[in-house]
């Protein structure tokens, strides 16, 4: 991949993020409710016209839309995502405070999902009909499970009935197990479906057959040869997976009453705290787009076939 191509990709990413920022700005402008009212305590409060006017001047709502847009873009470039209407705290600061918890959760879930997907694939793909059907049925089931319900079922079974794990985590590793598993299992089902097809076709490839002809054990062929090929298409989905984990973390954090970006987002949606809603969304979009870019660049290096396929 030449430097020029990398630059072109980078420009594409910046363009997409600029578009996303513009789109969210337009949505904010189309809000049917008055942001000044929200800032002064929401629909229930009765601020005086003077108070409303003062807030409009303070937040710049009285300025021309184009000027507001340029100030908004300028703020984003400086890492300033605006100030929360409700918490009266910079959005970037709120994200910074909550990011650690959500990042721990999503990273653990991503690793967990891969472990589960690889184990299920190694054990069941390209085996007898019954075993393969069992594995693929399990993956379909996992992929269809809604996170909020899976979370509750895991809570009931492992926390309330078996008492193996705490109901509400105290920040320790035990409290992370159930939320991470809730995020990981449906993703594992999805990744497994992708990996399984690839794995089966890799096991039919000449290199697998010749490895077996050389006297390599079945497990050796699976582990050393087929798995590498099977994992690749799934790994190229890692950027997508990370983005989807960040957004489903919203639900999981609500189920387990875990602090994090998702909780902040749901509270902000309920109270129409648009700077926080938009800020968190743009932040997640940035992670998503950048992760996709890195995955594309990295895999072009690892697998030359992807390079020729893409161009």
């Amino acid at each position: 991949m030449t430097a020029r191509r990398v630059l072109a990709r980078l420009a594409g990413v910046v363009g997409v993020l600029w578009g996303a920022a513009t789109l969210t700005f337009i949505i904010e402008q189309l809000m049917p409710t008055d942001p000044a009212q929200t800032i002064l305590g929401g629909a229930g409060s009765k601020p005086t016209p003077e108070q409303l006017a003062a807030v409009r001047v303070q937040y710049g709502f009285d300025q021309p839309v184009l000027l507001q847009y340029l100030r908004y873009l300028g703020g984003i470039l400086r890492g300033d995502l605006g100030t929360s209407y409700i918490r009266k705290q910079p959005v970037a600061e709120i994200i910074g405070q909550q990011l650690g918890s959500t990042l721990t959760l999503t990273a653990t879930a991503l690793v967990g999902a891969w472990i589960i997907a690889v184990v299920v694939t190694l054990l069941t793909a390209h085996r007898s009909r019954a075993l393969a059907a069992l594995g693929s049925g399990l993956e379909t089931l996992l992929a269809a499970l809604p996170q909020y319900w899976l979370g509750i079922v895991l809570l009931v079974v492992f926390a309330f009935t078996l008492h193996w794990l705490p109901v509400v985590g105290d920040g320790g590793p035990e409290g992370l197990v159930l939320p991470a598993l809730t995020l990981a299992l449906p993703l594992a089902g999805f990744l497994g479906q992708v990996t399984r097809d690839e794995f089966s076709s890799a096991m039919e490839q000449p290199f697998a057959v010749s490895a077996r002809a050389r006297g390599m054990s079945d497990f050796g062929v699976r582990w050393r040869h087929a798995l590498r090929h099977a994992v690749l298409p799934g790994l190229t989905l890692s950027g997508w997976a990370l983005g989807s984990l960040f957004s489903t973390a919203v639900i999981v954090e609500a189920v387990f009453v875990r602090p994090g970006l998702g909780r902040v987002l749901v509270d902000a949606v309920t109270s129409q705290d648009m700077p926080v809603v938009v800020g968190v969304t743009l932040f997640v979009a940035t992670i998503y787009v950048v992760a996709n870019l890195l995955v594309n660049l990295a895999f072009g290096r690892i697998d030359p076939r992807l390079r020729s396929a893409a161009h």
């Binding site: 997409v16 809604p146 957004s247 987002l265 749901v266 969304t281 997640v284």
Partner: protein
């Protein structure tokens, strides 16, 4: 290009013929899914035929009862019958799921066809727009619209539709471009058919066929999303029987009354699974017919 397609078709016919046959043979999972979905549709259309209770009738003496012969799925904190509420919940869950998917598909077809058939400029503009929307994860996009319009059923349908439309539109665009460059469209052009006739007779039906599968599976996805939003307290409001909202209401009693969470959840999982199994089956049938 044309040679490759022809070769592909030949090998596909040779390989796929026996597969397609076994696809039509008896498959318990497919039948089970169809029966379950028919049941849910019947719940949605004539809920009174399945239960004599009302989903809103409270009975303080019968609060938090475990499943029994009288209360098949148990009762909730206000003594409402969970079975009755699950049956009545089918209507709003299905309406939201089907409505959101239909709305998303209509938008996707408009955008996808505009991009696929329009000139370079239109395609460029629509594609860039779709890329931007796709950069925002669907659930977050839905949340933005709920924040903007306030929670409610209509908002929920719209939000779920907007959250999934861009992904569909991208697939429709790809499909239209593939069909436009196929051998039979080139042949029709060479025969002198008009552009509009080719679009109506060839491009539209052939580009739409894979969408049947997409739409089927999309309904399952929409039901899950919509119930997730209700679960977060951002969709259907609590007293109404809706599966996601029921799960949210039952959360406070999860340590004692597991049935409040089990049955509405099973209904959602059952729908998603059934729709996925049927969608896959349809896909195989359609691919078999193409070969």
């Amino acid at each position: 290009m044309t040679v490759n397609v022809a070769e592909g078709l030949v090998t596909r016919t040779a390989l796929a013929a026996p597969k397609a046959k076994s696809g039509i043979a008896f498959r318990p999972a497919v039948w089970l899914s169809a029966v379950f979905l028919l049941l849910v549709v019947a719940w949605a259309v004539v809920p009174d035929a399945f239960t004599s209770e009302s989903p809103f009738d409270t009975d303080v003496d019968a609060a938090i009862q475990a499943p029994s012969l009288q209360y098949w799925f148990g009762t909730d904190a206000s003594g409402r019958d969970i079975y009755t509420r699950v049956v009545f919940g089918a209507r709003s869950s299905l309406l939201i799921g089907v409505g959101a998917t239909a709305l998303a598909l209509v938008a996707a077809i408009l955008f996808g066809f505009a991009a696929g058939l329009g000139g370079r400029l239109t395609d460029g503009a629509v594609s860039r727009f779709l890329e931007v929307v796709l950069a925002l994860p669907g659930l977050l996009l839905a949340l933005i619209f709920i924040a903007m319009l306030g929670p409610g059923v209509a908002t929920e349908i719209l939000a779920v539709a907007i959250g999934s439309a861009a992904g569909y539109a991208w697939m429709v665009r790809g499909q239209v471009i593939a069909v436009r460059n196929s051998g039979y469209v080139h042949a029709a052009t060479a025969l002198g058919h008009t552009r509009s006739r080719i679009i109506v007779r060839h491009v539209f039906p052939n580009a739409m066929r894979p969408l049947v599968v997409l739409a089927t599976m999309g309904v399952g996805q929409s039901i899950v999303w919509a119930s997730s939003l209700s679960f977060l307290g951002l969709g259907v409001a609590p007293p109404a029987p809706e599966w996601g909202a029921m799960l949210d209401a039952g959360r406070d009693f999860v340590s004692t009354a597991w049935w409040l969470e089990l049955f509405p959840g099973l209904a959602i999982v059952g729908c998603t699974l059934a729709v996925t199994v049927l969608g896959r089956h349809l896909q195989q049938r359609i691919e078999g017919r193409l070969a």
